[in-house]
Symmetry: C2
Subunit: 142 residues, 2 copies
DNA sequence: AATTTATATTATAATCATTCTAAACTGTTG
DNA sequence: CAACAGTTTAGAATGATTATAATATAAATT
């Protein structure tokens, strides 16, 4: 639930000029109560349906990648043909519903801490992500 | 370390005809001591370097997907632009070395059991996968 | 073994998500 | 306002994957 002027500062602070396009994308992505997951395609459709002025697809790609690079979005890869972006940038895990293709955030009351007993020597852990695929009981039941 | 005749039965048992191409791919993938991870590109290169007769790229794609569908391979998606296949089809987790782009299997002495306290209602868990990204200490150190 | 049928392979074309290009446009700074 | 760097844009290019449809091979049938 941020305001336009807050987006302007946010962008300026990251060295991104607050253009009309970026502000619209900020509004769509961050002016919400809850975080959510989206694909580039979702976002492009959302914008084309809800705004009169069109934003070029190249700009949508550029902006999403810029926001990811600045840490305002995380990318979640589910399979080779589905990449989601996440406005929840805290460390968290996911359920992936194979029936509906929906990603659902896990809370700490759903998945306990992952216990990494031994790491690769000389390396630092940069992230730990759990993906739990789920499907309705009637599937995979052969 | 399987023999050619074993691959023939394996393929026949899954309803796949044991063609020369499939048998060569079986040999490359499964006639080894240790399981390993590969990309389609790796496999195509391996085959073109180590066999006199060429196998069409379409056949390599078809075969890898057929083997995946039959459960002889698992697909591991690391990021939108990197999809690996795994000849280790047991449940296991991975380290991904961001410096070398190598996937490394985790044993149970490296990652403890993931504790899933609550699942989505009405859904069955079809897989649980942990991906631990690692990088050398000198990276990400700003 | 020859014939028939179903499957598989192949070269090549098509697809499609993503990235590139380079010209026009806009935000910023002085 | 002028000058500049950064941004947007339409459209082209890229490249991994998939589709096509002709040819080849394996299996089943006679
Ligand atoms: Mn991307
Ligand atoms: Mn695939
Ligand atoms: Zn999430
Ligand atoms: Zn593995």
């Amino acid at each position: 639930m941020l305001k336009n002027s807050e987006f302007v500062s946010k962008l300026r602070n990251s060295g991104l000029r607050p253009t009309k396009q970026r502000l619209k994308i900020c509004e769509v992505l961050f002016n919400r109560d809850k975080t959510f997951h989206f694909t580039i395609n979702d976002l492009a459709k959302n914008i084309s349906e809800n705004f009169n002025k069109k934003i070029s697809l190249a700009t949508i790609y550029n902006t999403v990648h810029a926001f990811k690079d600045k840490g305002y979005l995380k990318e979640i890869t589910i399979s080779s043909d589905k990449s989601y972006f996440d406005t929840n940038i805290t460390k968290h895990h996911h359920f992936y519903d194979e029936d509906t293709n929906l990603l659902i955030d896990c809370n700490d009351n759903e998945i306990g801490k992952v216990n990494i007993k031994n790491n690769i020597t000389g390396k630092k852990i940069s992230s730990v992500e759990v993906l739990v695929r789920v499907a309705s009981d009637t599937q995979n039941q052969n």
